[in-house]
Symmetry: C2
Subunit: 309 residues, 2 copies
Amino acid sequence: MAKKTFHFADRLVEAINKKGTPICVGLDPRLEQIPDFIKKAHIAKKGRSFVAAADAILEFNKGIIDAVHDLVPVVKPQFAFYEQYGFSGVWAFEETCKYAQEKGLIVIADAKCNDIGSTAEAYANAFLGEVDLFGEKVPQMDCDAVTVNPYLGYDGVKPFMEVCKKKGKGIFVLVKTSNHSSGDLQDRVTEDKLKNYEVTAHFLESWGADEIGQFGYSAIGAVIGATFPVEAKRLREIMPHVYFLVPGYGAQGGKAADVKACFNKDGLGAIINSSRDIIFAWQKEGNEKNYAAAAREKTLAMKADLSNI
Amino acid sequence: MAKKTFHFADRLVEAINKKGTPICVGLDPRLEQIPDFIKKAHIAKKGRSFVAAADAILEFNKGIIDAVHDLVPVVKPQFAFYEQYGFSGVWAFEETCKYAQEKGLIVIADAKCNDIGSTAEAYANAFLGEVDLFGEKVPQMDCDAVTVNPYLGYDGVKPFMEVCKKKGKGIFVLVKTSNHSSGDLQDRVTEDKLKNYEVTAHFLESWGADEIGQFGYSAIGAVIGATFPVEAKRLREIMPHVYFLVPGYGAQGGKAADVKACFNKDGLGAIINSSRDIIFAWQKEGNEKNYAAAAREKTLAMKADLSNI
């Protein structure tokens, strides 16, 4: 039996090579935008309840996953869109992650965790590791990676790094985010002439240095917005061994040319996320019954677009 | 009928004045530290399951809340300790918040949210506002306040501010956290001679300036670690209208003298959090059946300690 790849970055690269594209599909299921026929079916069963909302979200996600799982290596469910339906929504999050992994996809939980000490450990265990259940260690959400916010410094990242090492998981730490006001703090120039996002970048490159996988990448990735191509170029230089998770392509305005700077010369080093543009592609053509086919078509179009760079 | 106070900071001050202390009890229910008699009862009913863990957490929390609700104005459940038991744990979180509010407590959800645009809106709606449930707006967790991380800038805070204004809720934004490595980013000096946490502080003071309540405080608070009294003094000067949520007292090493700088001359301006020291006070005396009474005694001791400053 072939040894299963353990290191997160190695698993990521193998999945990208297998699918021939670095696309990550963002599973951000806004209930308002889920096709009516799905919602009506679940309202009929369980009323206008949070449980019905969770069921509708899960059915929608499964349709998207079925439509794209053979095309892309990674999906990224955004925790907020599940959590807003309370514990029922979190159930739908867990089931979505499970289903995606069963279909061979790498799952990045986009929860932007940030805390310290035993609290950060609790988040790391919840999303990636094993939790203490009456003295026994059992996996909980068991995602492949999770996003992390760096404002609390090394204490806020180390507990995740430890779980990554032990369980072959990964993290993506926010460095330069895709939003307009990301510069409020991230772009401030410090006395040593580095911008704050560059300071964060140097941290990530050094934190991951001891655990580089066979393709030259560490399990500690970075979130770099597609909307800042000039900054991305500089960040690629600072972090040669760090994988980039790049949101902001598509709906937020990022184009294929903009994300080019996120890749290394080996053609690796970045996964490009698209959420709304893919999962709600059906809204442009207007036939809700075709939502999964529309998502597949849009994914193929994105794949073609990215292959030009 | 007397008009119910709406502005979050006004509600907070009224609750502090009523209880005569600015203590916040942190509800961080580590399952390992919950008394065995509670755990055994729930294992007997539902096996060694996540549901039993959630039930044990909720029973433990209710015991603590019953023991301290007449003494303190605020509780702060930390989301990670619930989320690690998956959707069952999130159910226990929701029920804990509800129960605390029924007992007249202000609930700060410690989830350190951070995201942008419609995702930040989803978090704000989940914790504080109303979510879209098949076209109808309904409250979800409906907490009184939530903690927020500032790394993404104004875009990451504005959606919360809007909900605060509309619903009389509050936020506490991380400024200077209590952990050792908080300085990695927060203490970096920028070109304009301000440390990053001071930059964040200036943002908070200005963001809240339009919505000052009758006691002189805005609904946009700050998280300031008790472990950095010198920094707290400076931050108190930068943010005269900002309420401080101060973790790090007790178990993390902060003392009453250390938190003094967090208060304004009006004796207001800070709530002091203690988690482990209070809720697991029973472990020092060893009688698990007395866990609630031990928590009450420790709360009274903290109240006496704080009244000296």
